[in-house]
């Protein structure tokens, strides 16, 4: 807890006792608890990996961060502001790689990568150069003018990563960005990603299902409980990786210690 308090002072991202309930219109407005008193803080320039079992509220946490949904209770602060209430303040400061690629079907790969910078008002020539650069870095040279339906799932995912990176945001939110890629491409992109985030002093949170990926990329790992609440917080840098892996597994499977052992 003392560690958490230490970062709060100048935190880039801060969740304070956040609760999110969804009204299920399909079930007579029954309410569903997706996030349960979630508190954590992220220091500027930090890379956080979020792990948690399916349906535990990771994407919901992202939507709260991106200001797309409003917390039922508690406060969310990103760069000292409220992402839902001060929505437009975040122009150019925040970008999201969504869990599914979410490409505009009527735009080519290039057009999709340009979208974010175009909305920021960059001139055509400049944004073309930026977008082409990103497409090349992500191994999509030769596919600039393909429409999304003609790209593979992994290629589409890379286009959506390029779209977020092209904005050069202060805060980068990635929801399982590398899950749809083959081992080699994934590995290369993870390295790119680390380099990009470190070099440019960006704050980033990414969600993953893979403990290895979390250990490789995260400076700190947050394990979510279902409904979303911190089950474990572990600093990776300088720690004993095997011990951390064991603790993460146990935190992810609180009721099945044996399963956790087997998985390890």
């Amino acid at each position: 807890m003392s560690e958490l308090n230490a970062v709060v002072a100048d935190a880039a991202i801060e969740f304070h006792s956040v609760v999110k309930r969804f009204l299920r219109h399909d079930r007579r407005d029954e309410s569903f608890l997706a996030v349960d008193r979630l508190s954590f803080a992220v220091a500027p320039g930090e890379m956080i990996a979020v792990l948690g079992r399916t349906g535990c509220g990771k994407s919901t946490m992202f939507n709260l961060l991106a200001g797309l949904i409003e917390p039922t209770e508690g406060t969310v602060r990103v760069l000292g502001h409220d992402p839902f209430r001060e929505f437009n303040w975040y122009r150019g400061k925040l970008a999201v790689v969504f869990q599914n690629d979410r490409l505009l079907p009527w735009r080519t790969a290039l057009g999709n990568v340009e979208l974010g910078i175009e909305l920021l008002g960059k001139e055509e020539e400049e944004r073309r150069a930026i977008a082409l650069g990103w497409l090349e870095r992500l191994g999509l040279k030769g596919h600039e003018h393909d429409y999304p339906h003609a790209l593979s799932g992994g290629m589409r995912q890379r286009v959506s990563i390029a779209r977020a990176f092209a904005v050069n945001p202060e805060i980068l939110l990635c929801d399982e960005p590398f899950s749809a890629l083959d081992e080699l491409t994934g590995q290369r992109l993870r390295e790119e990603y680390t380099q990009l985030v470190r070099e440019n002093g960006k704050t980033s949170i990414f969600v993953t299902h893979s403990i290895n990926e979390a250990l490789q990329l995260g400076e700190r790992i947050l394990v979510f409980h279902r409904p979303a609440r911190i089950a474990l917080e572990a600093r990776v840098a300088g720690g004993d990786r095997e011990a951390i892996r064991q603790r993460v597994l146990e935190a992810m499977n609180p009721n099945e210690p044996r399963l956790a052992e087997e998985a390890a």
Binding site: N63, A66, L68, F87, N88, Y90, R91, G92, L94, A95, V96, F98, N100, R102, L104, P105, W106, R107, L115, G116, E118, L119, L120, Y147, H149, A150, V167
Partner: protein
Amino acid sequence: MTTPWYKLRKETVLALGGLTLAWQFASYFFPPYLFPPVPAIAQKFLAIFLDPESLANAGATAARIFAGLAVAFLLGVLLAFLMGRSERNYRYAYPLLNFIQGIPALSWVVIAIIWFKGTEPRILFIMVATTVAAFSFQILDAYRSMSKDLFEMTLSFRPSKRDLFRTLILPTIVPGMLTAWKVNLGNAARVVVVAELVGATGGIGYQLLQQQQLFDMAGALAWTLVLVVFVLIVQQVITKLEDWLLAYRPRAERST
């Protein structure tokens, strides 16, 4: 799969050719005021295109269709926008538009005659009244079919209202708008001839009335064909526009 306009499908040719032959066959057994021979109809049809005055009649009808559809479309966009903006607006507008949609064209004709003086205002009123509800609903549907995922993705970049409209909303609703135009064009063509009976001194409806008084079946059919051909050509143009605008869409290679 759409076929280019110059390449008619075999089935289309056979079906229409069969109908023409059957008609010609009937003309041998019935008097010409019931089943005029096909060449007689074709001659009258061509004559319409060679006579400037007749062409002006056809043009007048086309202009009335377009004017009515244009006004109904603009109103429809406005109403769809209001309904899409708030659920409350929708709850008020829906029953009203539904009610308007249920009124038969002939009732609008009577109402138009009582309410308006000139022929053109009457016709415009009838055209707008009979198509505005369908336009509103179709455009609203297109707007509502917008993907929530893409909407949130675009919003995450904090676009201005104008940019949001340009980059997401417009491309989403254009296909629905084009379909609405095609559907309403067919409806409008059917209504316009009825509307033209309210004292128009020109137009396809007026010409049809003349042919009826002369008991000239060939003339009546020729004018009907002019209207049908007009609708088919415009719909084909819209389809071309659709194909061009929606070229990005993937095509399924097989259907069931």
